[in-house]
Amino acid sequence: MSVLDLDHVFFLLIVNIGIAVLWGNRPFVGKILTLLYILEGLSILTSYHVLLSGAVLSSSLTFTVMQQTVQWQLGVSGGFFALITFMAAGLATWFSSGVWARSYAPIRLLHSYMALNVAAMLLLLASNDFLGLFIAWELVSLVSFLIIAINGGRSAKAAYSYILYAFLGAMAILLALIIIWNATNSFSYVEVRHHWSTMSVNRQLIVVLLLITGFGIKMAILPFHRWQAPAYAYVPAPVAAFLGAISSRMGLFALFIVLLQVVGIDVIQTLWLPFEIINMQTFLLWLAALTLIIPTFIALRQTDARLLLAWHGIGQGGFMLLGILSANALGTAGGIMHVFNHASYQAALFFAVFSVSYRTGTADLDRLGGLVTRMPISFTVMLVGIIGLAGLPPMNGFVSKWLIYKALLDEGMPLLFLAAVIGTLGTILSVYKLIHNTFLGQLRLEHENIKEVPWSMSIPMMILASIVFITGYFPGLLLESIAAMQSTLGISVVDYHLGGVNTGKGNLNMIVVVSTMLMAIGMGALIFFVLGNPRKQVTQWDNYAGGHFLTSDMRYQYSHNFYPGLMRVISPLYRNTIFWLESAIVSTVQFMAHISYALFMQANYLLYLILLVVISLLWVLAV
């Protein structure tokens, strides 16, 4: 069956946790942990061909409760996500293993929480039935809470709001599980799928909506998106990269498994919301599209680089969902591929932003500028990252987005295609603001002596940036496992090759595109450098400035309210409705709490007893 069973990985994870908890403060431990994460990733990678053939890695751990045997098996989908997890965790730990750790006091907590997170996520990825899924889900929620709250203060507040949302989600999932159990008497995916149709249509609808709510909260789909950005922004750099890269994708993984493997997209397509107004699939697709557009345009307004990226993370989640729900081989492939792509460039971007704030002490976009000459590596990484995030060729973000666009067009959903493009355009605007306000423009006087971050921090960034480029150049590397995933799930399989996909109605060959681009850029460089006179380099403060002579102490940077024209048009659309709703719910709960407490605090409390007796006797008479 399997070359290597999952126990080894679990064992390594336990070792990981042990080391992190016991010796997390020592300076060398970060390096050991990095190696361990890489080792875990490799141990899955070495047996990856087994997974690709459709087999599973299984663990010998198992327990039986309520006639249900819970065991752990890593399939190819789980393996794919696990690899991303190990990549993110390994590089994040690498980032924090050197100089960075000296400036961060609770480094032991960070290492331990990271190890716990990875372990819980692996449990989730390897779960094989709803019970195991739910247990792992709650564990993931709790350890995410820990890691989000790590900095105290603002991050603790964000973590609190996260855990409340997470509990709302968990309760929704629990309800769905109970309904499923009631109908099928089983928790295992196979059994549930088999007996799915024993549920009435209304029940099916409720269950699907509950599962979407529950798992969607983790990936912050629309009405539940408010918790995520502050939760992912106000944490230390490695945590932000790790969370932004993979944490909220656990929700996507669960949705992917549930909607595609257990429920089946064909069922989703035949379910109708009440009054037959809208198809379930269409409803979810539009939800995903809104999740893409609204957070993206919220990101456009941010002045804090970390918040900006975190909001984009939510928006890109909408992209993935859009792909997965499109019920199209290309779309599913794009959605899953986007998980990897997003993980790579989002981590790179968070590293770049946090490198800047590590050196300058701020991530406020109004207080930075011109750092490109001081931190060229961070700039390059950010450039690669934003091209990926914006989904422009030649980076990997383009490939997955292309697949999703193509799927939406092929399925005849032009408006959703438009929504996706609007999201991308908003992203381009927003990321240009990010790189402009951070690295371009005028250098501030106080940043004159800033240096590039040390190698221990820049190497992981560069690795991520090169991953972004390489998987953009050769998307077939990822498409191979995605195709395997699709064939194990029994949905239509994407026709891929190393350079991209063939659809017959419009192809993409990234090898050709990127090679042409490289050659074209070479030609451009040739034209630019060979023709004409040589250039003269001027200092960063030497520019036209309307004939006025600028000096370095003059603030001469266009950064705040970067798109005034656009904002004049769209700012009336920012209504803070969800914020308003959230605070309304909070006030309602507080009001109810006050009333309940006042109920108990009565001087003449015996009246209730009499009231109860009288009412119940009246009730008896009525009965």
Binding site: V65, L164, L174, V589, Y605, L609, V613, V620
Partner: protein, 489 residues
């Protein structure tokens, strides 16, 4: 063999009356006799557990056969609660505290005798008598701190409890005047069919409200917050953990055997869910730890009542699981909180001064919340399943929403504990070793029990099966062939 179980009730009573005399000779050591007694009880129960086996047994007191004679009914459910009561009482036994008043020992023993009596009695009036014994002892225990506030709380507790008892007695009077019997097995033959009218309902409601006072049933649970926050913490732990569950047990027996009518179930469901919601919300508002725990205890009792009110085998199983879980957990939480008896905001940074205690508190509270894979989750899962089996969807949603409110206040608490803010030196709180033994034992039982989860589930199902088997109850008490006349009807 099982006849020796009478000793469970007899010995504490005997010792309670002898103890003042013994104390004159043994002094401080007299507390030890109580511990020894409880140890003996554990042995007794363990021995009996083996002999009870699968079929329930009956003890005829005074040699008269039921329904004329007084009986003790012994099945696994009763045994289980008796064992748990003994274990918790042993853990909470106040003998380690110095210069404990001998009266305290006496009251504890009386309380225990009452508990055992209530658990084992198969007779309505006996249950009432033992319940009163238990209640009177608890009034004494509540007022032991001898502060003004504890007197007032105790008085208010006494009034509502006495009123409840009077209602219960009224219910018994009603039942007796219609059936001429107080033997539960006998009544189980008569009431469900012959008293299915207004008087039967009235009697049912009076009994439920009467015993509901101790079971923390809404809305006769207004004493809970003040009593739990003013009484000695061991007493609080015992009341919240054991006594309330025993009262719920009585209600379970009533609704299974005597009043198996859907209207009564609905009534209990309604009270239960209101209790859950109001309890959680009040706990959300509570400004000090003890009140918070008290209100959460109300909510948990509400959950147990909901489970029992499903009145199916699955519901009984869920209710027993929840009850046992809460019975083991709440005493531990109250003991952990006993030195944090202050406004919640003063607890900021508690984890610095007492890291182990706060970690334990957090784990136990997570179990209370029902976070998998902690034991609370499995109990809650059983409850949800039984609710779903009866298609009580709305109830299910309310319970889950109440859990979110619970999560809100518990996590607020955790975040306060782990706030990275120094506590002023004079405000430092540590959980002292004395409370730690019972806490560690209880949480050890809970957490290690997790490894035997399938085993527990199986035995719980067995217990639930036995409990919901009305025929077996009647046959055991009255004998298989014996048919008693229909009384005064």
């Amino acid at each position: 063999m099982q006849d020796s179980l009478i000793l469970l009730v007899v010995l504490p009573l005997l010792l309670a009356f002898l103890l003042p005399v013994i104390a004159r000779y043994l002094g401080n050591l007299s507390g030890l006799t109580g511990s020894l007694l409880l140890l003996f009880n554990i042995l007794l129960l363990a021995n009996a557990w083996n002999s009870v086996g699968y079929s329930p047994k009956v003890i005829l007191l005074g040699g008269f056969a039921a329904p004329l004679g007084i009986v003790f009914y012994i099945d696994k459910l009763n045994m289980l609660f008796a064992i748990l009561t003994t274990i918790i009482a042993l853990l909470l036994w106040p003998c380690r505290t110095h210069n404990t008043d001998v009266r305290e020992y006496v009251l504890w023993l009386l309380l225990l005798a009452g508990c055992y009596g209530v658990i084992l009695s198969g007779d309505l009036f006996n249950i009432y008598v033992f319940y009163e014994l238990l209640a009177v002892a608890s009034y004494g225990l509540v007022t032991l701190p001898a502060t003004g506030a504890s007197y007032i709380a105790g008085f208010r507790y006494l009034m509502i409890s006495a009123l409840g008892s009077a209602f219960a007695l009224l219910g018994i009077a009603l039942i007796y005047s219609f059936t001429g019997s107080v033997n539960i097995a006998h009544l189980a033959q008569i009431i469900p069919d012959h008293l299915h009218h207004i008087w039967g309902y009235s009697a049912a409601l009076l009994l439920i409200i009467g015993f509901g006072v101790k079971a923390e049933l809404f809305p006769v649970n207004f004493w809970v917050a003040e009593v739990y926050s003013h009484a000695d913490k061991r007493v609080t732990a015992l009341l919240a953990g054991v006594v309330s569950k025993i009262a719920v047990l009585i209600i379970l027996r009533f609704i299974i055997l005597l009043f198996p009518w859907q209207d009564i179930f609905n009534f209990l469901l309604l009270l239960g869910i209101i209790g859950v919601i109001v309890g959680e919300f009040a706990a959300f508002y509570a400004q000090d730890l003890l009140r918070l725990l008290a209100f959460s205890s109300i909510a948990q009792s509400g959950l147990v009542i909901i489970a029992f009110a499903c009145a199916t085998e699955a519901g009984i199983m869920a209710g027993i699981a929840l009850a046992i879980h809460h019975l083991l957990l709440k005493p531990a939480l109250f003991l952990l909180a006993s030195h944090c008896d202050r406004s919640i905001n003063d607890l900021a940074g508690l984890a610095k001064s007492s890291p182990w205690a706060s970690a334990l508190f957090v784990i136990l509270a997570l179990s209370l919340l029902g976070v998998p894979p902690l034991p609370g989750f499995w109990a809650k899962l059983l409850l949800l399943q039984s609710l779903m089996a009866e298609q009580y969807l709305l109830l299910l949603v309310l319970v889950l929403l109440a859990t979110i409110v619970e999560a809100a206040y518990l996590f607020r608490l955790f975040m306060l504990f782990y706030q990275r803010q120094e506590m002023p030196e004079q405000k430092r709180i540590t959980i002292q070793g004395q409370e730690l033994y019972p806490v560690i034992t209880l949480s050890g039982i809970l957490l290690l029990g997790l490894f035997f989860l399938p085993l527990f589930m199986d035995s719980l199902r067995e217990i639930a099966m036995q409990t919901s088997n009305i025929e077996a109850y009647i046959n055991t008490v009255l004998g298989k062939v014996q048919h008693i006349g229909e009384g005064n009807i």
